[in-house]
Point group: C2
Chain length 518, copies 2
Amino acid sequence: MAKNITPRSKDYPQWYLDVIKAGDLAEHSPVRGCMIIKPQGFAVWERIQQDLDRRFKETGHVNAYFPLFIPKSFLVKEAAHVEGFAMECAVVTHSGLEPDGKGGLRPKSPLEEELIVRPTSETIIGHSFANWVQSWRDLPLLINQWANIVRWEMRTRLFLRTMEFLWQEGHTAHETAEEADQETRRMLDVYADFAEDVLAIPVIKGEKSESERFAGANHTFTIEAMMQDGKALQSGTSHNLGQNFSKAFNIQFQTRDQGLEHVYTTSWGVSTRLIGGLIMTHSDDEGLILPPKVAPIVAAIVPIYRKDAEREKVLAYARELLVALCGEERVAKAENLGGKEILSVVLADGRKVVMDLRDTLRPAEKFFHWEQRGVCLRIEVGPRDVEGDKAMVVTRHDRAKVLTEKLAIDADWLQAKLASQQGILLQRARDYRTARTHRVDSFDELKSKIEEGGFFLMHWDGSRESEEALKECKASIRCIPEADSLETADGPVSTREPGKDPISGKDSAGRVVVARAY
Amino acid sequence: MAKNITPRSKDYPQWYLDVIKAGDLAEHSPVRGCMIIKPQGFAVWERIQQDLDRRFKETGHVNAYFPLFIPKSFLVKEAAHVEGFAMECAVVTHSGLEPDGKGGLRPKSPLEEELIVRPTSETIIGHSFANWVQSWRDLPLLINQWANIVRWEMRTRLFLRTMEFLWQEGHTAHETAEEADQETRRMLDVYADFAEDVLAIPVIKGEKSESERFAGANHTFTIEAMMQDGKALQSGTSHNLGQNFSKAFNIQFQTRDQGLEHVYTTSWGVSTRLIGGLIMTHSDDEGLILPPKVAPIVAAIVPIYRKDAEREKVLAYARELLVALCGEERVAKAENLGGKEILSVVLADGRKVVMDLRDTLRPAEKFFHWEQRGVCLRIEVGPRDVEGDKAMVVTRHDRAKVLTEKLAIDADWLQAKLASQQGILLQRARDYRTARTHRVDSFDELKSKIEEGGFFLMHWDGSRESEEALKECKASIRCIPEADSLETADGPVSTREPGKDPISGKDSAGRVVVARAY
């Protein structure tokens, strides 16, 4: 077992931090609550960005960029919005620094109006939309922004909750309430498909209760994933903002029949939090496991030799394998960069295959190194493999070792192995979630079971009182699920069949998903 | 002539703003000095990013992300650095907002230490490097960051100088001074190649004089481009920081012979300013011209018909052309998105071909629309073209109309036309620069000629006094050129031949590039 990683069973939060450290993904910064996303972690974010960006463009959206700073007066315009974000603001009050007379520097010129570092951009984008939209012909307006966001958080955790984080925020304006509703649901579907196809994270789509809505939204939809401690992670949200922001910012358009109406807007976002979700869905006590589609490094070749006499032969053989996987041209390109003890070959899709040429580490240390970085396949090559025209292939997700014919190893083989691993990780996560999803029909049952974690399908009468009562056991309603039924450990359970709210005893139209959450 | 664009000869700064507005690239935001990059402008930035990012990765760099906020105490650590940036800082002093008792909100909790919104990241990255580097085996460290930057500017101009801008900043650490020097020059070459190959902007590479160096650098290298008013635009810089930051942040490493030494660092960056350079290099009095490699829309098909009877026939023919350019699959995908009067087909490389189906605009208005957005090719199709199996092709860079056989128009034809246009734009910009580059051998000559704009190759003795004297005519030394000779209107002129500084009368080792600048 890895000595630098606390087992999940012993201390789950510490395990999470240990996996991040061992995987070299991110670290705390000297600025409280902000993180440094290290190259290994940022490469995962780049793969997430590329895939999502393509999906946004395929659904007709275009990217734009709006200011980092929001005038204080903008935030105030939508009452629910300012209430939600006032306490989380970072406030710029001055420009310039000047000597303070004590050898230090102090802020110099007070601003006429304080500026807020954006906690989200509905207000500043709403102001632009009011200028951009004149007639129904200008609609729909389908904008996305990739940006950094600041929310002053007291308790932070790498990726999951940080003062500054990276995200995308979609902002759209529509002619009718129906179109805004369709857009909100369409983007939730994009998120859900992305989570399952690319991150191999199964999610439950549904609507948030009123108390969990985004500040200023009429409806908030969410995708909820189950982490390996049985807790829920809200992984993406899509908000139907109705006419709340269009009225606050006066976004009006001339209708088809020459009238004047406020547009209907939506917003939707996912963030670097997804990387936290990835870690907590797939990794094990040995460290990081990444689904191949977002793994920056998909394979690591580790040559093994004891004597100098073996060195040349093993290295030549390992290079042949590297060429079989990546092609001579790409390998030569990597070699020409020079200087590095780890040869890093970039594939057509941007992912890498590496060959570990370090002479300072023992083979076991190298195995460990790549395993903890979540590399999907490790290919070990020793003198005996050279003799037998073989290689030992170790798959990260199950750590299984398979002695493989050299001839079988090529680019197609690599893609097939990765596709298989991607599918297994998704199925494993699905099975895990199903095994930990339960129907509960009494509050006591919920209270007794929730310590172990998991999702609980429970009747809810829709009241604030029942929702509040869940806080007793630190649980919350994660969503009112979209699906008519959900898989549980005991088979499918209907979410639409009427029943009784076990807390209030009142009538309930269906079951909701209850869990503890990040 | 375009009525919404002031001619260059009349008012060049106004022309620049008019081109941006007509091209729908960007606009001023309600936050003074910040801009909103609109979808058309942001798509240009995305193309710039993609190409540069590839070049950075091919030269061995990896991306990472560091905090937006920098503790005030960090900025102070490098003396020259803080002097350069203190006046330009945006300062966060509080978190949270609370009611001010007058119906408004005021900043709530003062921070223990004020935070600076990054004006550049040498300090916060230097702090990390000190943790990351232990031994010579950890070097070189080759990091890049794509980020937003804030510098409090009094006079701003869209793209060229804004309070917030987008950029990339490379930060590297090396074992030896020589390696840092090589890296600084390598990245300058990457910038120069990119500017010429992709932006079609010819640049002069060279070193900045001491007074124009980056705050904290030992050497600053630059690429300087000539705008159409004869002024210089500093378009990218690469800094050799020596051990200044490694000493300030204590970035030490164990050397190969077990000693302890400070690393040698570099930094280099280009920003959204490049979009300003693109506009001022290529555009004309009719509006935006974009080099095809960064044009978000490469071709616009405009169907023309007067009677409803013609409509169906013309649209079917126009669609055939669209399919010939983009392939049936991509066209069908665009059609399935639905709802829009402009059909927008995305090519494999991310650029678009559009078909303008709007019924509300006259053909001339549509021509105008696409021309002002810098679309490389306009393909007009009317009933007579349908009869004759032809189309009228208009190239944006010279507005030439060529009646073209329908059969000739396909994907290969498109690529060839675009490649040709790319080459012509670069050559045109080169010719323009050569015609406006002059040798000057007296200060009076410089003063009399500089009003007209242009680059002037002048001897310089290396003194601060001569450099200061240039301010008399609002000129500055743009760089000490790397090339041994530069093309001028009167043929090549040596930059290495010794001579006399015309201002001081003292000996000079060679000629420098003098110009007015943005």
